[in-house]
């Protein structure tokens, strides 16, 4: 099962109208607001974050306090971040899975 719906899971009830912040998810431009967590920013526009490691399920976070580890996403540079505890930053290039070149040999450390 994959998520096809291009609408948000979360609903903003208050604190709207802060400065907009642009970022991308899987190359698609999206917009959040200053002070949004990465999790909030993604799930205000999308239903899910990406596929779970195990089992036929999509992830959307679970505890929102940094304990369950369900909400990690990839970044274009091959690193990952825990979306419930990280604030959105302008230009973040987020991915729902690892970048294509992730398994290429690394440059030797200098």
């Amino acid at each position: 099962m994959t998520s096809t719906a291009k609408q948000g899971r979360f609903v903003r009830l208050a604190e709207a109208g802060r400065a907009p912040i642009l970022f991308t998810l899987d190359g698609e431009p999206l917009q959040g607001q200053k002070g949004d967590t990465v999790l909030s920013a993604i799930l205000l526009s999308r239903k899910t974050l990406g596929h779970a490691d195990l089992g036929d399920r999509q992830r959307a976070g679970f505890c929102l306090m940094g304990a369950c580890q369900d909400c990690w996403v990839w970044q274009a540079d091959g690193t990952r971040l825990q979306t419930c505890v990280r604030q959105l930053e302008p230009g973040m290039a987020l991915l729902s899975g690892p970048p294509e070149n992730w398994l290429l040999p690394l440059e030797p450390a200098t």
Partner: protein, 459 residues
């Protein structure tokens, strides 16, 4: 001067820091959040505008007092504060701390752990679907982000947070379709008398909040199944107290059965634990002041599930014990000890009124996912027991329940219950999962030499 390390800057950690700084010490405070306050008094990011009254309701004054107290200690340079940081390992007077700037090693002489609690979860068929969250998650999103986790919300489980959160969501304009409490009214009345005697005002406030939920609230229900597709929940199926099958359409489900003390760092620091039948979980063994070992003190929900008011008192007491052990003259802790006893009586009432759903967990259907991280079902755990015997650690090694990224935080108690049911023993007899560092998953790059800051703090 002995260095004291406080882990956690919620009500307990803040009060502990206050007591130490008043005695002239300069403690180190490590906290996972970007801003101090803890979970219950969690602060929104800078620039958010809702007033404290809206965020914390009747507790607004307490929240603001703690926030400004901590901010002032930081501004006056009376403590070394490490926000957005996690202690991942402890030993030999050294804490490994992952900070936004890299890994630090902090040396300490004495340690006060105020690491709090997480939601206590029990599995429900289908709860692995995206769109199922802990009750705490829904409260965090509302308080710190002004966000509801779905359009049509169902809250299920038991405990004070169930009613409080439903009330907060409704006041904020969220759509709450149903509040499903597994505790029967008869059971709740047993705890009510204890709660009312210990803290009449708090009890009255809870009753009032509950009444305002009206027909959304159902006591004594049984959860049957969460129906979901790839995008999330479609409905929750349940039985009302008369046994009638019901279903409620929804796209978000919040689950939680009160709280579970987070024991990870306490275990790494050498605390001993015993099973609490009242709270149906393992809790650290301590004296009245929160001493659990040589130079080791615990306070707050990570010691005993007393809530925020109890945590403030316990934080002061732990710091007082620390000061006494350092040879400082301190004021008589008698008054705080008496207050804490009242909190304990209230907490026992809460635990009695809103119990862990023992029978529901013991009777989980074989195809229900028990461990969300490793996608292990109740049936797979039961099969594992043929090889592991009724031992939680062996069952984890062979069947992977509790071996995933949450490190057993959300499945350990349910797994113990399922194992105990099959072996016809009490849940404590199957043993407590051995906890190991790191206390949180850490990206390997954090340990690259370029990201490591040589140790700080004085021996």
């Amino acid at each position: 001067m002995t260095q004291v390390l406080i882990v956690g800057a919620g009500p307990a950690g803040i009060r502990a820091a206050q007591r130490l700084t008043e005695a002239g010490l300069k403690p180190m405070v490590v906290d996972a959040a970007a801003r101090a306050g803890g979970q219950i008094y969690r602060r929104p990011p800078v620039g958010f505008t809702r007033p404290a009254q809206l965020l914390y309701g009747s507790e607004a004054t307490k929240a603001m007092t703690l926030h400004s107290l901590f901010d002032k200690m930081v501004a006056d340079g009376r403590l070394d504060y490490y926000p957005s940081s996690s202690v991942t390992a402890l030993g030999n007077g050294m804490a490994q701390v992952v900070t936004p700037a890299g890994v630090r090693e902090l040396r300490y002489g004495r340690l006060i752990l105020a690491t709090g609690a997480t939601d206590r979860l029990a599995p429900v068929a289908g709860w692995q679907a995206s769109g199922c969250y802990s009750l705490g998650a829904a409260q965090i999103a509302l308080k710190s982000q002004g966000i509801a986790l779905g359009q049509q919300i169902v809250l299920a489980g038991s405990g004070p947070l169930l009613t409080l959160l439903a009330s907060q969501l409704l006041q904020s304009g969220a759509q709450v379709a149903a509040v499903l409490d597994t505790a029967p009214l008869r059971q709740q009345l047993r705890g009510a008398a204890m709660m009312a005697r210990a803290r009449p005002l708090v009890f009255a406030r809870g009753v009032q909040m509950r009444a305002a939920l009206g027909r959304r609230y159902h006591a004594g229900i049984k959860l049957t199944q969460i129906e979901a597709d790839g995008d999330g929940p479609l409905a929750i199926h349940w039985q009302d107290s008369k046994g009638k099958a019901r279903q409620t359409p929804c796209d978000m489900i919040g689950l939680g059965w009160h709280l579970r003390a987070d024991l990870h760092l306490a275990d790494l620091a050498g605390a001993q634990f015993e099973w609490s039948t009242t709270f149906a979980q393992w809790l650290p063994v301590s004296d009245d002041m929160g001493r659990v070992g040589e130079g080791l003190y615990l306070a707050g929900d990570g010691l005993s599930i007393l809530g925020a008011d109890g945590a403030e008192i316990a934080g002061r007491l732990a710091a007082t014990a620390c000061l006494l052990d350092l040879g400082h003259a301190v004021t008589d802790p008698e008054a705080d000890l008496n207050k804490l006893n009242r909190m304990r009586r209230f907490a026992k009432g809460v635990a009695t009124a809103f119990p862990w759903p023992t029978q529901m967990v013991r009777k989980l259907l074989d195809d229900t996912v028990l461990c969300r991280c490793e996608n292990v079902t109740a049936g797979e755990l039961r099969e594992t027991l043929d090889w592991s015997g009724p031992d939680a650690n062996r069952a984890k090694s062979l069947g992977r329940v509790g071996m995933g990224r949450c490190q057993g935080r959300y499945c350990q108690l349910s797994a113990a219950e399922v194992i105990a049911a099959k072996a016809a023993v009490a849940p404590d007899e199957v043993g407590r999962l051995r906890l190991q560092p790191p206390a949180r998953p850490v990206p390997i790059c954090a340990f690259h030499p370029a990201a490591t800051i040589p140790h700080e703090g004085k021996p």
